[in-house]
Symmetry: C2
Subunit: 664 residues, 2 copies
Amino acid sequence: MNKLDQLCVDTLRFLAVDAVEQAKSGHPGMPLGAAPMAYVVWDRFLRHNPQNPAWLNRDRFILSAGHGSALLYALLHMTGYDLSLEELKRFRQWGSKTPGHPEYRHTPGVEATTGPLGQGFATGVGMAIAERFLAGTFNRPDFPVIDHYTYVIVSDGDLMEGVSSEAASLAGTLGLGKLIYLYDDNDISIEGNTDCAFTEDVGSRFTAYGWQVISVADGNDIKMIEGAIKTAMAEKDKPSLIIIKTHIGYGSPKQDTGAAHGEPLGMEAVKETKKKLNWPLEPPFYIPEQSLTHFRQAQERGAKLERDWRDLFDKYRKTYPDLSVKFEQAVHGKPPQGWSSEIPLFKPEDGAIATRNASGKIMNVIAKALPNFMGGSADLSPSTMTTLNGLGDFNFETPAGRNIHFGVREHAMGAIVNGMSLHGGIIPYGSTFLIFSDYMRPAIRMAALMQTHSIFVFTHDSIGLGEDGPTHQPIEQLSSLRMIPGLTVIRPADANETAAAWKLAIELHGPVALVLTRQKLPVLDPQKYPIAEGVAKGGYVLIDAEAGQPDIILIATGSEVHLILAARDQLITHGIKTRVVSMPSWELFDKQSSEWKEKILLPHMPKLAVEAGSPKGWREYVGDTGDVIGLNRFGASAPGATVMEKLGLNVDNVVKCSLSLLRK
Amino acid sequence: MNKLDQLCVDTLRFLAVDAVEQAKSGHPGMPLGAAPMAYVVWDRFLRHNPQNPAWLNRDRFILSAGHGSALLYALLHMTGYDLSLEELKRFRQWGSKTPGHPEYRHTPGVEATTGPLGQGFATGVGMAIAERFLAGTFNRPDFPVIDHYTYVIVSDGDLMEGVSSEAASLAGTLGLGKLIYLYDDNDISIEGNTDCAFTEDVGSRFTAYGWQVISVADGNDIKMIEGAIKTAMAEKDKPSLIIIKTHIGYGSPKQDTGAAHGEPLGMEAVKETKKKLNWPLEPPFYIPEQSLTHFRQAQERGAKLERDWRDLFDKYRKTYPDLSVKFEQAVHGKPPQGWSSEIPLFKPEDGAIATRNASGKIMNVIAKALPNFMGGSADLSPSTMTTLNGLGDFNFETPAGRNIHFGVREHAMGAIVNGMSLHGGIIPYGSTFLIFSDYMRPAIRMAALMQTHSIFVFTHDSIGLGEDGPTHQPIEQLSSLRMIPGLTVIRPADANETAAAWKLAIELHGPVALVLTRQKLPVLDPQKYPIAEGVAKGGYVLIDAEAGQPDIILIATGSEVHLILAARDQLITHGIKTRVVSMPSWELFDKQSSEWKEKILLPHMPKLAVEAGSPKGWREYVGDTGDVIGLNRFGASAPGATVMEKLGLNVDNVVKCSLSLLRK
């Protein structure tokens, strides 16, 4: 390593070490070991513009080993992002821009929130898919308006997580040649040497996935790392994994031990490390002038890169005016005026239709209006009805195809959808059965935390799915999704509520989970009911008591709305006046004014909520004097209507509970 | 294939096909393709006793591709388990013993509930670990009292799921030679040919994990399958994957298409298939006498196998009386009298201690009393404090070691713990941070559904963990776990509640999640507070108002109990009488009589619940006139005490909210 490179690498190392030491908390081992590879990527290859972290055609960089955040903050500061040295000194403190793990939207230049292992790995695959799709859709000969790499640094832990395996296998199938992963192979995890749990041959495993695998024997050898990245770039048809042998806690007395991983080195050890690497003991956060000057060249380089790209784009705009309009619409994330005008109104007389089927029709209309709407299913598209007809499969040969076959890989699908959204230019969706939302829950949480525009389509939403039985019948999934802060969950009651839900999903700009039925449901008359406005409010009066104050309010979501509508008719024969409230989304309803909420739910009025899922949480809406019909048990295998009937999701039971509530 | 074998295989095929047809629902494709491999396992190798499905030393068989349940039911009926033909005719109907996916505890001979893909794969690894551990612990020269194989049939979908990758890598590391997996490699998944999403080289991937990989080119060639299984058995040091090329929907007009997967063939196609395979068109559910006679030999074989084993065990009992007592205690699942007598009482004067640390001490005491208590962590044991000191690592060389290094593989850990419990003879635990319960949620659900005795130890249970920030701070995890039917969640408030919680966890016999702090908590005086009885009831009065009726009840769990205790002192200075309720477990509390519940929570008394997590669900306990201090947002990176303070988990806020509640 030449002197300047060494100086720069060590600057990163000690900024990270000092930040951890100052915070008395953090992970010094990873930055000490992985600083050289990070430096090579950022100094020799990464095409980015520190003054404009949002420049669309930048290379993406993800630190999947998010615990090494201090290394990333050091890179961001040194290359001239809007992250002051002061912020590095406030590492892991309240209100700082330098939280314990990198957080998207929080720190300029952080491309993805990472920390939960494996997420960054799979999110990177999503970014590469987005790049490939946008390039396939918008690039024209001599106009590579989208053309960039995605670099990810991954750890042992990342590679042990199943989500990475799923994503890696898919990336291999898709031949994502612009994906370059650097594996910080230090043989150490928290419980000690990785031999105790991780003796697999990682290289062969990735070769089996269809990746190019490159080995670098010495993680401090910058030339070798540089060569490896060039080899990775030369392979256009496969993602590359560069396995780089490193030493966790390099240079410190704790080198090559688990002790270097998750706690500060301690003052004495920091001193020893600085001595060993010939670094001035004082001051902490020392930045040599030469190092800063060198790193900050990134600003000038970056400005030029973006300028050149803008020039290219100006020419593109002239040469392909229509395409460039579409491109800019896609990129700015706002659907064009009137985009939803073709979404159909469904009519009761057209007959009952499952909300999954209605959703399928609606999605196909949306796909025509929005060329950047794309996604797929975890091997269930014929059941989730999420195929965009005639718009082709996304794969190596047809990168402009808009249907992704994720395979039976729900977790990776979730993280990939997030990555596509993070990349920008795409409104992505992923679909599976509601029960399997459990498999992708960590990714859904990341979507909520990052506020990506990820749309999750969950069908087969209750025991109503029938014969597949308790392993496939969601009970707690709906309520558990509602617990995730920042996720909007919508369970529409019919085809028209589904249409309204889809409009919101496209326009909301945060993550949305749509929860849909397998079984057919009658269509609510959009002439008669205030569906579109109602769904947007999260809860609304579908039909009120015939005259005057109601005696009772029945509340339901999804398929159970039809149950309470039928119960209302029965209750009339008992002389009971009933208001029926459809409440497709708790989150949207909770956001309304208390006036609206009280207008709908009339405090002190007896209320019965009915939902084919865990009743927990409904007390908030029905109050002490209300009641809930739900499921405190797992389901059962039998035809859907039978299971509903047997487990109390039937009109008689709703009537019975209503009467008993009124007697109280 | 000789005639008898062919007859037997086809009997399985058409029992399955007819069952699906009768139910008008199910998966005929898998049984048609995989019947030969299932037959070979069950006819030539499986050591089991249909009259006693609970015989401990039986080989285990899991159909990880649980959608092929009809094939398993056919095998169970034919070999003479207590599953009548009548039940096969009631496939997927209400109350039948033949649900859509195999359900443990529901159907005799079903070893594990399967259906959610990948679960069976990983559960099998848990069974093989249990076998290896028990053999390592109890076998003596000439006394192989535990000595059996675990067979699992897996599908493309199973192998795409990340949980399988995690489990496979661990199985390779551990060298589980008695694990034999048969891969039903039919190139078809629901969205069509697996080429669209799954082009990896599965064989090389498993070789990289350290498995022996064997290929069988023709899934109808019984001799080849038989040879492959023998090869698998001959390899003692590696698990084996036998890749068997099959045809989904074999013999039917839908052969080799996704259409054969998930719906009945239809009457016409059934006819054609029967014709093609020379099967009588009538009657449905036809069982040739010869076939039945052959299959039912399993009964006699099984009886002899068990008899021989009992003879062996009788000799073992005489030769190793002490060991055999321990063995029987382990196997019968009941801890010996007085097992918990050494669990310490913690004293306030010994100083504050994190509940994770208290848990660690308690676990080590339990481990001494219960030789079958074992488990590990997903690479976090130094943080979750779950190491059993001095009891060795479980690995290839030391199979009697009691600490499993699961690696960074939470999902597989969950399923493996379930498999260990299903096997019997072990009380297993798995640990990680509470936030990562999300990664293993599908396995936790399976534990609840199967009612395995799986103990999940979740530490770092709130924003109180501090600097690691929102990616690591649980918000919705606690409440979401509470949504799972049949799971007992306990969040103890101090070391002594932790001891009580552990006693319950050992004695409850269903799955338990223990939710523990990273940060230190004061110790509650067990002389002063009714802790042990209180925790067992799920909620109890820790300290009541000083005299007479309280003005307000404060309720909390875990670390927040100390917050409300401090608030109580403050409220006294405002002249307010406060009852403090500790409610470590909703599930246990909900099970109490309404008298108990009312005695504790005093209806119509203002109540404030305080918990550092999502407030949703608490309304059930505080009622309309109550309030909840919780978190409707993600956390933040800063020292734990700061985050608690800033986000309202502080004494002032509790006092303020109490006063405002009383003013209402």
